[in-house]
């Protein structure tokens, strides 16, 4: 596993110590994952849900949501009723 690539995908920064520690551990787990290679699943459908049903939905009626205060109550930083994030360098 390219641990740098995957930890970037997962947006998790590992310290150098963690990186070193995780490498063999993840490798061992992946060996376990590889036991799946031997299984014959010809013609077997995947289980997406233990007890699947169709069309579990609601009518289009509105219900009360959060107040603006509630929405921002746990935000680390907010301004003008919006959540502040560090500058997004992209546009």
């Amino acid at each position: 596993m390219d641990i740098d690539y995957v930890s970037n995908l997962a947006r998790i920064e590992l310290s150098p110590e963690e990186r070193e520690k995780f490498h063999p551990q993840l490798g061992q787990v992946l060996e376990y994952f590889d036991k799946l290679k031997e299984v014959d699943v010809e013609g077997v459908e995947p289980t997406a849900h233990a007890f699947p049903r169709f069309n579990v939905w609601d009518a289009d009626e509105t219900k009360e949501g959060f107040s603006e205060e509630q929405a921002l109550a746990n935000a680390p930083k907010s301004r003008n009723g919006q959540i502040v994030v560090p500058k997004v360098i992209e546009e």
Binding site: P52, F54, D58, K63, E68, Q82, V88, I89
Partner: protein, 489 residues
């Protein structure tokens, strides 16, 4: 080397539902920031999605309107990526089992003149799928702000095949699509409110080549004209690059509408690995044939079908149909009025000229919600039909009708009322007109001479005198006949 362009469009449409796609908090534009949220919208720990049935119905309706194959079963997948406008850092979307596949959008290109209908073509679609919208990011000097009001709204993504070949076709495609969606009450499609958004994939290839060139994705195309202009610029840019011996790289570029060029964008993810997998929190959707059939029966008439029907059944000219057919409410008004007369083409004229003029630009949000012509339009289809019939019956002249129409529009008073009050009935009394015409000829022998000399237009001055004398109420046809008869003597 001559190149031809190939363009594909990805259009996102915000469906007009009361509540969001996966939770029942309300939708809306222009509300105070973060006032349309709940645990599900914000992606709080423990929040779970529940489908909005209406969004699915509307999607099926779009699929039927555009001739798609409607899935018998479709499901939800998580599209995983990190971005501040993403509450859960995954978007619930549809990956390999979308709600609609195939389909087509009929486009109309400009004709030789505005009065002539141009050629039509069917542009192929790849697929249509449903997903949830993300929040809105606004960028400032040193930071950015996020508002999650829009997050979780139902979004329909309509993907075309790379089946458009010019900026004009792009414009025609978006116009047609928007008209169809607005007429079917799917969405108001106001691009300024983000209800319709468009990304374009643009590539060029040598004329006659079968293989597609490298495509470049364009973003930040915020108006239909903007899409056309952005595509046009990009085609030129790519042409220039190739002409200079360079290479086109697959990338995403941003259209800058003020500066009118495209610039490269940094990618949102270093690797576009969305790690799609079926969302375990949502059950799949099964769409029965009965349900589809019922919806098909209730489909509104498509704008171009209406256009053809008006032309074939009512002999409406293109100049009328092109102005009418994009606007469902206007068409309803027109058809109701036209049914009460024998002259639909004339009614159409009134609608696309006089009524549209009085209506002005856009409807208010109130009107849009009430799906009606603006409150301030006090003219009803019946009133318009009456007016037209009054002209046909030679009770009033066309000019007089045009004069009183604004008052009808503003006050709701019928033509008959206004005519009676102001004594505006057309005068067709032969003797009266005869004597007035004789007087006119006598008073302007110059014009009479010119007319007799072959100058057709000279008769207008004489008509003018008669009309003025009758305060515009003389029957213009009778005046014209009488003048010509007298002048011929």
């Amino acid at each position: 080397m001559k190149y031809e362009a190939v363009i594909g469009l990805e259009v996102h449409v915000q469906l007009d539902t009361k509540s969001k796609m996966f939770t029942r908090v309300g939708t809306g534009f222009g509300k105070p920031p973060n006032s349309l949220t709940d645990a599900v919208v914000l992606g709080l720990p423990g929040a779970l999605p529940v489908m909005n049935r209406e969004a699915i119905e509307k999607s099926i309706r779009v699929g039927l309107l555009l001739g798609c194959k409607i899935a018998k079963v479709c499901k939800w997948d998580r599209k995983n990526y990190f971005y501040p406008d993403m509450p859960k850092n995954y978007q619930i979307s549809q990956f390999d089992q979308p709600i609609c596949e195939g389909g087509e959008v009929e486009i109309e290109m400009p004709g030789e003149s505005p009065a002539v209908m141009g050629p039509h073509r069917m542009v192929k679609l790849t697929r249509i799928h449903l997903e949830e919208d993300v929040g809105k990011l606004t960028h400032y000097e040193s930071d950015s702000l996020v508002d999650y009001n829009r997050a979780g709204s139902p979004l329909l993504e309509i993907v075309s095949e790379p089946d458009l070949f010019s900026p004009d076709e792009v414009f025609a495609y978006l116009t047609s699509l928007r008209n169809s969606l607005v007429s079917a009450a799917i969405s108001p499609c106001d691009m300024e409110k983000g209800q319709l958004r468009c990304d374009a994939n643009v590539s060029i290839r040598p004329v006659g080549s079968e293989t597609l060139g490298t495509k470049v994705e364009l973003k930040n195309l915020n108006t239909i004209s903007g899409v056309r202009n952005g595509v046009e610029y990009e085609i030129r840019r790519q042409t220039k690059v190739l002409d200079e011996g360079g290479e086109i790289f697959q990338e995403t570029r941003r259209w800058n509408p003020e500066q009118k060029y495209t610039t490269p964008m940094r990618s949102k993810e270093m690797a576009h690995d969305y790690r799609y997998f079926p969302d375990p929190d949502l059950m799949p959707v099964q769409i029965s044939d009965d349900w589809v059939d019922k919806m098909r029966d209730q489909l509104p008439e498509k704008p171009f079908d209406k256009q053809r029907r008006y032309r074939d059944e009512m002999n409406l000219p293109y100049s009328s149909t092109s102005a009418l057919c994009g606007d469902r409410l206007l068409c309803e008004f027109f058809e109701t009025a036209a049914a009460l007369t024998d002259v639909p083409a004339k009614v159409a004229n009134w609608v696309v000229n006089d009524l549209l003029r009085e209506l002005g630009q856009t409807n208010s949000e109130e009107d849009e919600k009430n799906a009606s012509l603006p409150q301030r339009c006090k003219v009803t289809p019946n009133m318009l039909a009456d007016l037209v019939n009054l002209i046909e019956d030679a009770v009033i002249s066309n000019n007089v009708a045009k004069e009183i129409f604004p008052e009808m529009f503003a006050s709701g008073r019928t033509a008959k009322e206004i005519i009676a009050e102001k004594g505006l009935e057309m005068q067709s009394d032969g003797d009266e007109i005869e004597s007035l015409c004789a007087q006119a000829i006598a008073s302007d022998s110059d014009a009479a001479e010119k007319f007799r000399g072959g100058k057709e237009g000279a008769i207008n001055a004489l008509k003018g005198v008669v009309m003025k004398a009758t305060r515009g109420q003389a029957n213009p046809k009778v005046v014209d006949e009488t003048l010509r008869r007298l002048l011929a003597q």
